[in-house]
């Protein structure tokens, strides 16, 4: 009965109540949104690479190397020579290695020059292998494999002919359109940046750049696709390579060897450790974001309390009527508390719904632009703890107007004195 009464009374004050519900919804949206993206980003980042012991690139910050080699964020400052790659990949303690050559793109998606070892040895998530949804790995020079998202967005099937563009701008102005590639395979979705890339052989990368120098097409020197095959297509340099070891025992000695390599300035990083460094860096920012969203929510709940308290004056007569027909002063206390909780619950529902819609809408954008793979379900056991916390805070803050209703109804008589 009190619930019905509370809802009817709130409905009678639609405008202020709606605004309060909306402000709570914004607070809930912010808090749950920050929390969700925080945990999902961590999750998404840490499952991107698995089973890779070392990533080796030209000497740069470990974070930078990790970001461009695995997450396709940012660019390499320098390449490493094929010699160095050969030397380290043939060491006895190395079980497998995956070369990576970056710098080209296809319709905004990064093109990764690599070897067939990539499909065999690269792991993500809980040591999951890459799988083909259709087709097979590239074999010839002008063959390409596309990630799941690329295929889905561009509607590619095996057999599709594609051209690569030089550089990584979405609208590439210099195209390698003289040497088209054929899509031979499409990878199954992984929920990692692998979905957002096009994979070709190192020879393919070499072939499309054979008549290029220093990043531009050499004027008057065009080598056709067929002619290019007659040249030696062994790359002179690559961007980075990933290493898997036979035994973890040799991890640190190999890393030291790489970092102290005399012929070239190299750096070898352990992806897990670098990820942890990344979290430590982002952690402070995350905490600030979380603190802000908690404060915003607290402010909106204060607003709820203020709204109820402000309405107490104009509702004195309502309270007097309820008292006259036999309501306890305690019932009035609960009436106001119920109103506060109804408003809060409505705010939570609106905010959560808005968040789900927002996640659904922003998902593609986030994965394409930032390599972040965010689930659309923001509800976890932790979220429910948050929501319970919100209700508790709302209850406590609503004590002020509720107690005021209780005391007023005890202290004054039947008639409202104005």
């Amino acid at each position: 009965m009190m619930l019905k009464l509370a809802i009817a009374s709130l409905w009678n004050r639609k405008l202020t109540v709606t605004l309060t519900v909306l402000s709570i919804a914004v607070g809930v949206f912010l808090l749950l949104g920050v929390e969700h993206i925080r945990s999902e980003a961590k999750n998404s980042f840490s499952k991107t690479v698995s089973g890779v012991d070392l990533i080796v690139g030209a000497r740069t910050g470990p974070l930078n190397l990790l970001l461009y080699s695995v997450f396709h964020i940012g660019n390499a400052s320098n390449n490493i020579s094929w010699q160095s790659y050969r030397e380290f990949s043939q060491k006895p303690e190395v079980a497998w290695s995956i070369p990576i050559s970056l710098g080209d793109s296809h319709k905004g998606y990064r093109v990764v020059g690599t070897s067939r070892d990539f499909f065999e040895h690269f792991h993500y998530g809980q040591k999951q292998n890459l799988a083909f949804k259709s087709g097979r790995a590239f074999d010839g020079v002008y063959e390409a494999v596309v990630g799941a998202q690329v295929a889905k967005t561009l509607d590619y099937q095996p057999g599709q002919s594609i051209t690569l563009a030089h550089g990584i701008a979405k609208v590439g102005f210099s195209k390698h359109d003289d040497k088209p590639f054929i899509v031979t395979g499409i990878l199954a979705p992984t929920g990692t940046p692998v979905d957002q890339a096009v994979y070709v052989s190192l020879a393919g990368i070499e072939a499309i750049h054979i008549d290029w120098q220093g990043g531009v097409h050499i004027p008057g020197r065009s080598i056709g696709a067929e002619d290019a095959l007659k040249h030696d297509l062994t790359p002179k340099s690559i961007t980075a390579f990933m290493v898997g070891l036979n035994s973890k025992i040799s991890l640190f000695s190999l890393q030291r060897e790489i970092n102290n390599y005399r012929d070239e300035a190299l750096v070898g990083i352990m992806p897990g450790i670098t990820l942890m460094e990344l979290w430590q860096m982002i952690g402070a920012l995350e905490n600030i974001l979380q603190l802000i969203s908690i404060l915003v929510l607290f402010a909106t709940l204060m607003g709820l309390s203020t709204m109820l308290l402000a309405s107490m004056k104009e509702r004195e007569r309502e309270m007097a009527v309820l008292r006259a027909i036999g309501a306890h002063a305690g019932s009035l206390f609960f009436l106001i508390e119920i109103e506060a909780l109804v408003v809060t619950v409505t705010g939570i529902l609106v905010g959560s719904t808005a968040l789900c819609i927002a996640l659904l809408t922003a998902r593609t954008e986030l994965s394409e632009q930032y390599g972040l793979f965010i689930g659309i379900n923001p509800f976890t056991p932790l979220t429910f703890q948050y929501l319970l916390g919100i209700l508790a805070v709302s209850f406590v803050l609503a004590l002020l107007p509720s107690v005021s209703a209780y005391r007023n109804s005890l202290g004054s008589g039947l008639v409202v004195r104005t």
Binding site: M1, S9, E318, G326, H328, A329, V415
Partner: protein, 229 residues
């Protein structure tokens, strides 16, 4: 049906808003027999509303005893007083008796629920409102949309729905014009007579006195006590 001696029995009652202040109300003795219809008049600010709040158990006297239907309100707790009021006393205010955002039916039902009467049904409500000269169609309308005269009749219906032994009315006609006022008085007193309900009617308008069995001025009531001492 009346198994009590007095509908109302006040002994040495005094009330002040603050402990140290002089009492705003002091009644040495006042008894009302069951079924009587009492007209209580007094100037505004003379403490009429305070007296009604005391009788209905919303306020508690600083000292003395107030017995309503032989129940001493000063000896039972706040919750019990609220339950007692819901069940045995019907209250009608000057105006704004109803929650404007609820339908007429919901307003009356609220009294039924606070009165904790599970035997009441909707037929009872529509029968009562019809007897009070209210059209059946009015039940589903929001109370705030009714005219003041209609609202006051609904207030009577709500006050009567739990068959209270005592009706307390605080200037219920002051916002009505003379025609609706006479109609209101007729309806109120006829309904009260049906169940031999005691009525305490407070007003500053002495012209209404002729409707009642007895006219008392609050001033005299308080003086009477003084003189006896």
């Amino acid at each position: 049906m009346t198994d009590f001696d007095y509908a109302l029995d006040l002994q040495n009652v005094s009330f002040s808003w603050h402990k140290r202040h002089a009492p705003v109300l002091k009644i040495t003795e006042w008894r009302v027999e069951p079924g009587r219809r009492i007209f209580l008049h007094g100037a505004s600010g003379s403490g009429k509303s305070t007296l009604l709040s005391l009788i209905s158990g919303i306020l508690v006297p600083t000292s003395g005893h107030i017995k309503v239907l032989d129940t001493d309100l000063t000896k039972i707790g706040g919750m019990a007083r609220d339950r007692f009021r819901a069940r045995h006393i019907g209250v009608i205010f000057q105006q704004f008796n109803l929650l404007p955002y609820l339908s007429v039916e919901a307003n009356i039902n609220l009294a039924v629920k606070f009165g904790n009467r599970h035997d009441a049904n909707n037929n009872e409500i529509s029968a009562l409102t019809q007897r009070l000269g209210l059209d059946r169609s009015i039940l589903t309308r929001k109370a705030g949309q009714l005219s003041v005269g209609q609202q006051q009749r609904v207030a009577v219906a709500r006050a009567l729905i739990n068959h209270p032994e005592l009706i307390i009315a605080d200037e219920p006609t002051s916002s009505l014009d003379s025609d609706t006022r006479d109609e209101f008085m007729r309806v109120l007193l006829e309904s009260a007579a049906l169940n031999r309900t005691t009525v305490i009617f407070v007003s500053h308008d002495k012209s209404l006195g002729h409707y009642f069995d007895q006219e008392i001025s609050l001033h005299d009531l308080m003086q009477a006590g003084e003189s006896k001492v």
